[in-house]
């Protein structure tokens, strides 16, 4: 038996009032930690997939949409641009390297991207089985795609037009799986990648009659000798200085759109941020309420237990030992509240992660403890100490003789 054990016994002796304070704290800590985790995980995922892409060039429209579609592969593209115009930009001396990508089809909801080989290299894609594509209609399949759809090497995939599952099927759009990629924890995990030529070939036959994409065909007919189109081009600059000047030049002087991913993403997070902040304030409020509830609990139990305290003092315990017991009781509750809150948030992350994986094929799986969560631990300890301070001081100043004489 010792003071610490006694504290724990006291907590379990009053399960109802203890658990109310505990539940409030778990809720408060859990919400904050969940928000922090999601925010960090989404940000990490976004940064991870950025891979040093300085600028994206595509059709005019919303710059955020352009970034979301061609860097993160989660939104519809703004439209197509002509290959010739894209070539002009990629030949500019400020451009370090460029990767052209084009969309058109999907296979059971997973996007088929026509891209240069550099695209796979950008995401450090490694072939697990099979080989790279050599001929049109040969595809590499990302790890999540083949895991989910149970695709094997040599399978034939009949694609549908557009980026959603409901699009019409191409009779001629049959792709052959020649390679499976290792999981790379990046966007290529959820893509089916092929050569640009494959996509061009499929669409050549009926492209000019179809008007499925709203923004398509807005380009001028300057380049009639080559009407091939791409969806977007990912660009790295030679020098980071160009990031200021070059996108503006493109936006002002051409009918293409240039968007800077890092800028768009930080704008997106500012929008998110507002909601997150409001929710966090609410959660901090819950934590403060839990502190009050803890204080009221301890205060009441001091009154109920005053003879007990007096007894412990007459047995020879010092004032200090008794006050320590009160503070321990409070700390045991707040620290277990913190730990349970963290568990709560981890389950929350897993839940949200499974939801996101279903809707946008993104996977968030990291359960490490964030620096901010250490701050939460500090806050929990502080709440524990502060709410037990007045009861502890009362116990310290307790007049045992008077209490015993009144008995």
């Amino acid at each position: 038996m010792n003071i610490f054990k006694l504290s724990i016994k006291n907590i379990f002796n009053k399960p109802l009032s203890s658990s109310i304070s505990l539940a409030l704290l778990v809720l408060g800590v859990g919400i904050i930690s969940l928000l922090l985790q999601l925010n960090t995980l989404i940000k990490d995922q976004m940064d991870n997939n950025l891979r040093g892409i300085d600028m994206v060039v595509g059709a005019k429209g919303s710059p955020l949409q352009l970034i979301l579609s061609s860097v993160y592969h989660i939104d519809s593209p703004t439209g197509n641009i002509s290959l010739a115009e894209a070539e002009t930009i990629s030949n500019n001396r400020m451009v370090g390297s460029s990767i052209k990508i084009l969309y058109g089809d999907n296979y059971k909801g997973f996007r088929i991207v026509g891209a240069e080989r550099k695209f796979v290299e950008l995401y450090k894609g490694v072939i697990k089985e099979g080989k790279d594509w050599d001929n049109p209609y040969e595809v590499l399949v990302g790890s999540k795609v083949y895991e989910k759809l149970k695709i094997n090497l040599g399978d034939e995939l009949i694609s549908s037009h557009g980026l959603r599952e409901t699009g019409q099927s191409h009779d001629e759009g049959t792709f052959k799986v020649v390679g499976l990629l290792k999981p790379s924890n990046s966007v290529i995990d959820q893509l089916i990648i092929t050569s640009p030529q494959s996509v061009w070939d499929i669409h050549e036959t009926h492209d000019h009659d179809e008007h499925e994409h709203e923004h398509e065909h807005e380009h001028e007919h300057e380049h009639e000798h080559d009407n091939r189109e791409i969806t977007a081009m990912l660009i790295k600059f030679k020098s980071p200085m160009n990031i200021i000047q070059f996108p503006r030049q493109i936006n002002e002087n051409t009918n293409l759109q240039a968007a800077v991913p890092s800028y768009e993403i930080s704008r997106l997070f500012k929008l998110f941020g507002f909601g997150i902040e409001t929710l966090s304030y609410l959660a901090y409020l819950i934590i403060i309420v839990s502190g009050f509830s803890l204080f009221i609990n301890l205060f009441n139990s001091m009154r109920e237990r005053k003879y007990e305290m007096a007894l412990i003092r007459t047995l020879g315990a010092s004032r200090f030992q008794l006050s320590t017991m009160i503070i321990f009781e409070s700390l045991v509750l707040t620290i277990s509240g913190f730990i349970l809150g963290l568990l709560f948030s981890r389950f929350g992350v897993m839940f949200v992660s499974s939801l996101m994986e279903e809707s946008i094929n993104y996977n968030l799986n990291s359960l490490k403890i964030l620096n901010e969560e250490y701050w939460l631990l500090g806050l929990s300890v502080l709440i524990g100490v502060v709410s037990s301070l007045i009861p502890a001081i009362q116990v310290y100043k307790m007049n045992i003789s008077k209490i015993l004489a009144d008995a």
Binding site: R313, T314, L315, G316, A407
Partner: protein, 207 residues
């Protein structure tokens, strides 16, 4: 062993007590008897170091209680004095055995065999793992005696241990207390208004 001299105490200048001098040798038990309101509980708290007198001297085991700090008194109490209260008090979240273990812990002791032998001696060993609020009044009183003697005190102070008991039980309890004191080598001071106890003590003083 106990020597008091001109001990005076007043509560907020309203109640004033002047106690007669006590001189008790080693190996003697003492009955302090007095009517309500003469300051019996006050005297007991003074002897136990729970209160400090305003003037005079209390010398217990050659230590002057009035000169000790509150911390020294706590420490003196746990090493020398066991108290049996008028109404038994326990830590309600703990079992009988755990209450005794807590008392030992406070006195930096850890001796389960002693706990067992005390509980057996008091005939409540089968209640070891019961919570204290599950005990009968008689059992509670025994446990409170166990708490008083678990740390082998040299002095047991009992405050009105028999006031609410019938003659039969009164005599049982006081015999039990005396036996425990003798068995575990402690002296006993009983403070009470219960004149039935007079016949059990050779030495008594009246307040």
């Amino acid at each position: 062993m106990l020597k008091t001299k001109e001990v005076e105490f007043n509560y907020d200048n309203q109640m004033f007590f002047k106690f007669q001098n006590i001189d008790l040798n080693s190996n003697e038990n003492l009955l302090i008897i007095g009517d309500s309101g003469v300051g019996k509980t006050t005297l007991m708290h003074l002897l136990a170091g729970l209160l400090k007198s305003n003037s005079g001297s209390i010398k217990l085991f050659d230590k002057e209680l009035n000169q000790m700090s509150s911390y020294q008194l706590d420490s003196f109490r746990k090493n020398n004095i066991g108290i049996v209260f008028q109404r038994p008090h326990f830590v309600n979240s703990l079992t009988v055995k755990e209450n005794l273990q807590l008392a030992q812990y406070i006195a930096n002791k850890n001796d389960n065999t002693r706990i067992e032998s005390i509980l057996k001696n008091l005939n409540i060993f089968d209640k070891s793992n019961k919570k204290t609020n599950q005990l009968s009044q008689g059992e509670k009183q025994r446990v409170s005696i166990a708490l008083a003697i678990v740390n082998s005190p040299k002095l047991i102070l009992a405050d009105e241990p028999t006031s609410s008991l019938d003659d039969n039980n009164c005599s049982k309890v006081i015999k039990l207390l005396k036996k425990q004191a003798t068995d575990f080598g402690a002296q006993l001071i009983v403070i009470t208004h219960d004149s039935r106890l007079k016949k059990h003590f050779k030495k008594s003083i009246e307040l």
